[in-house]
Every structure is written in structure tokens, then in C-alpha cells.
Symmetry: C2
Subunit: 342 residues, 2 copies
């Protein structure tokens, strides 16, 4: 493995010149720059990560903190991770994956101070996220996938679940539904301030309010059986419910079963829209479920780019990015057809 010294010799320059040529830290005459790069090419030179990390400030390694959520992991997350990893690589960064728990603040602090990474992208952001203080104190650049209650000075990218929920209410109302319910994640997740849960619900509430419709909300564990049971609770609140919006895709088959047991057919008697899920999940269900899909790949990319720009001190224009979700109509939503009491 050739070193900088070899490159310097071959190019007939000083070793520091090579360094500057590589990092662009200082102007170099075009001619010598060429020579240096040619030498690097010839020798197949690759800067040594460790030496660089030791001597300089930068490691060119970033972390993706993905505390595996209790609600389980969806394909959404994989798309996201893959896109983040690719983006890092394209920018010449390595990406390490941290999966330890959210509450493991000590672990996080340690890793943060270790200096291994130049920055971190945080997934699974909560309204009051403890990680932020740690990174701020340590002066470590970070970007968020999701947003907190107070977003001052933060850099984030997030799917606009609030808007998505409002749009979904609107979509269902247009189909003639006047009693639209909302099925959230579990109460515990909501109370902990899980962003998508909080904001989707807020959007739903705004949506039904604007449309002058009643609001019916239930929380539910991310399991089929919980979904099965929760339809009863929803109908106890509003017996005339003909449509349901949810961000809890795991519970959906249960809801469908429960609907089937009442003799309802989907979508003729009951419509269902899942926010935040993706095609590969939606198409497994019968009928395939109408979804509002977040732009996962774009989010992964932007999250990493936001971080790298920050690390490299580049100008940042849009540091708070909300991306729209896409409504994909499949077989679980349609016009309101149910007859009441006739």
C-alpha cells in the first residue's frame, strides 16, 4: 500500500503538497496538482483512514442511529437505510450503523465522544428527543429524520405526515365518507411523543374539523389481534364509521378480519387507508391496501446530504425539509356505499 511519501517522490514534490492537493486546503498550481494526481493514479494510492483520522479532525465516517422500534420494522426502514448508505458512499464517507436503544444515553454519549464519526443521522425522532442535547453539547454535527417539538436551529428532513393525513381525510370525504376514524399506534408510543404518530393524528384532527366531520380516534398495538379488537372500540365510539385511516400497518389485517366478521366487504362497506406504509407491504394484503407512502429513498439521501454539508461547512439553504407523501389508491378504499339500517 503506497503512502503519501511515495506519491510525493513520484510527483517530485513535497509531502505536504500532496496533502494540500488532496484536501484542497490551500491553492496549488494547476501543473503540480496534475502531477500529484497522476502519481496517485499510477500508484493506486488511497489515503489511510486512520492516519487521516488521527492527524486531522475528520474521519469521513458517519453514523446512522436507528434504534429498532418496538412496533417492529417495516420495509420502509430498509429502503431508507439503503439509500442513506449509498449516499454516504457516493460522497466518500463510510456509514456505521448504530442500533442500540434510544434510552441508552450512556452508550450514545460514549460513542459520540469517541470521535469515530464526523456526524450522525438520527432516525426514530421523538418530539422531545434526548439525543439532541448530547450531540449539541459535544459539538457533533447531526441531522434528523423526523422533527421535534421545537425545531429551532435543527436540520431535518421528514415526510409531511400532517399534511398527508389531512389530504387523506379529504380524499375519503370526497368519496362520500362522513364518518372517518383514525387508528394510531399504541398509546405508549403516542405518549412518548413519537413524531409520525403525533403529527398524523394532528393532521387527521385538523382534517375532520375542517370538513365538519366527527373525530374518532383509537390507539392500538402493532399486532393483528390488537387490530381485530380495536375495530369494536372504534365502532363503539362511532357506529356509523365507514372509513378508517391508520399509521399502524401491522394492525390492518386484524381490522380487515373484524370487518369481514361483521359481514362487511372492503371497500364497498368499509374503506381503509394506511399512511406511512409502502407498496411491498400493502400488496400482501387482501385486498391490496390504499396507502400514503413517504418518499423513503429521498429522505435517506437528503438526511445524509444535510449532515455531510454541515460537516463540510458548506452553505446550507434548505436545512428543514418537509417532503410530500404520495397517495397510492389500491383496493381498500372506495365510495361510501353502506346502507344504514335499511
Amino acid at each position: 500500500m503506497p503512502t503519501m511519501i511515495d506519491v510525493a517522490k513520484r510527483a517530485g514534490v513535497a509531502i505536504s503538497t500532496v496533502s494540500y492537493a488532496i484536501n484542497g486546503t490551500r491553492p496549488i498550481s494547476e501543473e503540480t496538482r496534475q502531477r500529484v494526481f497522476a502519481a496517485m493514479e499510477d500508484l493506486g494510492y488511497k489515503p489511510n483512514v486512520f492516519a487521516r483520522g488521527l492527524a486531522g479532525k475528520r474521519s469521513r465516517i458517519i453514523a446512522l442511529h436507528f434504534p429498532i422500534p418496538e412496533r417492529g420494522v417495516g420495509l420502509t426502514e430498509i429502503e431508507f437505510i439503503a439509500s442513506a448508505a449509498n449516499t454516504a458512499r457516493e460522497n466518500g464517507y463510510e456509514m456505521v450503523l448504530w442500533t442500540f436503544e434510544m434510552h441508552d444515553l450512556d452508550e450514545l454519549r460514549q460513542l459520540t465522544q469517541q470521535g469515530l464519526v464526523d456526524g450522525v443521522v438520527a432516525m426514530e425522532v421523538y418530539e422531545h428527543d434526548q439525543r439532541i442535547a448530547i450531540w449539541r453539547d459535544a459539538g457533533l454535527p447531526f441531522s434528523l429524520i423526523g422533527l421535534t417539538a421545537n425545531t429551532d436551529g435543527l436540520r431535518f428532513v421528514e415526510a409531511d405526515f400532517e399534511q398527508a393525513a389531512q389530504d387523506t381525510v379529504h380524499y375519503l370525504a370526497q368519496l362520500g365518507h362522513t364518518h372517518i376514524g383514525f387508528l394510531n399506534q399504541s398509546r405508549a408510543v403516542y405518549d412518548a411523543g413519537y413524531g409520525p404518530g403525533v403529527r398524523t393524528q394532528r393532521g387527521y384532527e385538523k382534517g375532520v374539523q375542517t370538513a365538519g366531520l366527527p373525530s374518532t380516534i383509537q390507539y392500538c398495538q402493532a399486532t393483528v389481534s390488537a387490530g381485530f379488537e380495536t375495530l369494536d372500540s372504534l365502532l363503539a365510539q362511532d357506529p356509523d364509521l365507514t372509513a378508517l385511516i391508520t399509521i399502524n400497518d401491522r394492525a390492518v389485517p386484524g381490522v380487515m378480519q373484524a370487518a369481514a366478521e361483521r359481514g362487511w366487504r372492503i371497500p364497498d362497506d368499509f374503506s381503509l387507508v394506511v399512511i406511512g406504509s409502502s407498496a411491498s407491504i400493502a400488496e400482501l394484503m387482501t385486498p391490496p391496501v390504499t396507502t400514503v407512502e413517504p418518499p423513503n429513498a429521498a429522505m435517506g439521501r437528503l438526511g445524509v446530504e444535510l449532515l455531510i454539508q454541515q460537516i463540510e461547512d458548506q452553505e446550507q439553504k434548505n436545512v428543514q425539509i418537509m417532503l410530500p407523501c404520495t397517495l397510492v389508491i389500491r383496493g381498500s378504499s372506495g365510495p361510501c356505499r353502506r346502507d344504514f339500517g335499511k
Copy 2:
């Protein structure tokens, strides 16, 4: 950030003693060892990754190469990745995620030679896997999740799909099925030598042969619509088919639809077992699908452990590990009840 020098001073020993105490490279008296560790604790000392990597041979960073497969990603993979990441961490290693393509051999070679990682765990192993030669040539330790045609001298852990398939044939035969089909991934994936595809099919063939049953095999893209169409092809081959084994979970809803259109009910008229999928997918379908589930978390853990043992030159007893899959009976499989032509 305290350094080794600080620790040495505080413990009243030489700096090298600290180093040896940490790495266990050399015997240290219990007493001084205690002192050193106490000092480390007090100061909150953490070894600097870069210095370590520069000076020694080890970086304590490993890579997980996960070339995102064309067939899409399942939850299986996430479980796996999470478990690998955790195991690495528990052993004091960082894990970087490489997601670039299988065919991108240049990229792989570069990263390999860069010396960033002490070793790599390879996912998505094919029968004739090109990566092996690269790592062997570079003298880089690696372990495989999956196996190749020739496993001499390799360290791997894999789910025993061949056995699983045989067992599944047996299970269905016991239920009274005498015409059991097999639905593989796409022909392209099979021809490329994708391990699970090849071995599951082999197991299926052995199974039906042993039981004296006819063999019916089709290849199929990993999409719902492909699944829908392929049931026809299967029935064209064997009109008496009453059960189907598959490793193509994405296609299953299509198969179910096609069965429904024939007026068949599952499992009364047609049984379906998915090998290699996991609960969270199976339960989304209607009815929930009987699966044969690989021990993902265990595989992730073992894959990393195998690698680390190798890196650290520890004794290795079981370096070729086949783990059994678990049959989880859900609603898609049952006794053969269909009447033929009556």
C-alpha cells in the same frame, strides 16, 4: 478526552502497561491490572480508534456486505442486520454497512484493500461467489451468511433450507397431499445460483422423490401479478395440485387470488407454505400463512461471532453452521379436502 498517558500517570505505571492491560497481549499482574482499569474508569477513558488503527493491525471495525437484492428486501433481512450490529457492538466492534452491488467488484476490492475493516460478513451468498476470491487474495477474514457450491475452508452460517424443504414436503404429505408443487424465485435468480433458491428446490425434489410423489416446479418473479399468473402454469403441469411450497413470499398474494378465482378456499382446497419468510409478513396475508422461518437473529449473531473469532485468531470449533428452520403453522395449510371431479 483522556489519553493513555493520562491513564498511565493516574495508575502510576508505564503507558505500555496500560496498552497491554487493555489488549491482554501480555500477562499483567492482577494488581496493576486492577489499578489500570480503575484509572480508566475514573477518567472515562476510551481508546482512540484511529490511533489504534494506525499503530496496530486492528481497526476493530467490521463490514457487513449486504448487496440489496433485486427481489426486494424482507423483514428477515432487518432482523438479521440488527442482530449483527448488536453482536458487533457487544464485542467492541463497530460495524459499517456496505450496500453496493454484488457485481461492483472494483468497489469491493478498493474497500477491501483500504484496510478500514478487520473483516467482513457477506450476505446474499451465491453458489459461485466472486467476493470470496477477492477476500482470500487480500488475506481479509470473512464469514458467509449462506453457502457456496464448494465450502472447503469456508466459515459460514446458514439456515438449512434443503432440510426445511424436505420437512415441508413431509408435513404436507402427512396431511394427505399427494400433489405438491414448488414455486421458486425467478429463473434468473435461480440460474445465478442464489443459494436459498437452489437448495430449497433441491430439498423439495428430494422430498417428493422420497415420498414417491410427482415434482412440479415453476419459477416466478417476486410480484403479486407474477404469482397470479404462475398458478395457471403450475396447474398446467399438474392439474391435481393441492398444495404449494414456495420461497417467494411476494408472489403469494397473487397465488391466493388466483386460487380464489377458481373458487378454491385456503386451506380447504389448497394449501400453501412459505419457506424463509417471517411472522410479520405471514400475518399480513389472509389467511395468515404457514411459514418455515429461518432463525435470523441467531444467524446474524453467529455470522459476526464467526468473523470476530477468526480475526482474533481464536480456536474455532464449529465454523460451518447449519441452523434448522421452524415450521409455524398458521391458516394456509391443512388436510387435503378437495374432491376431484366428483
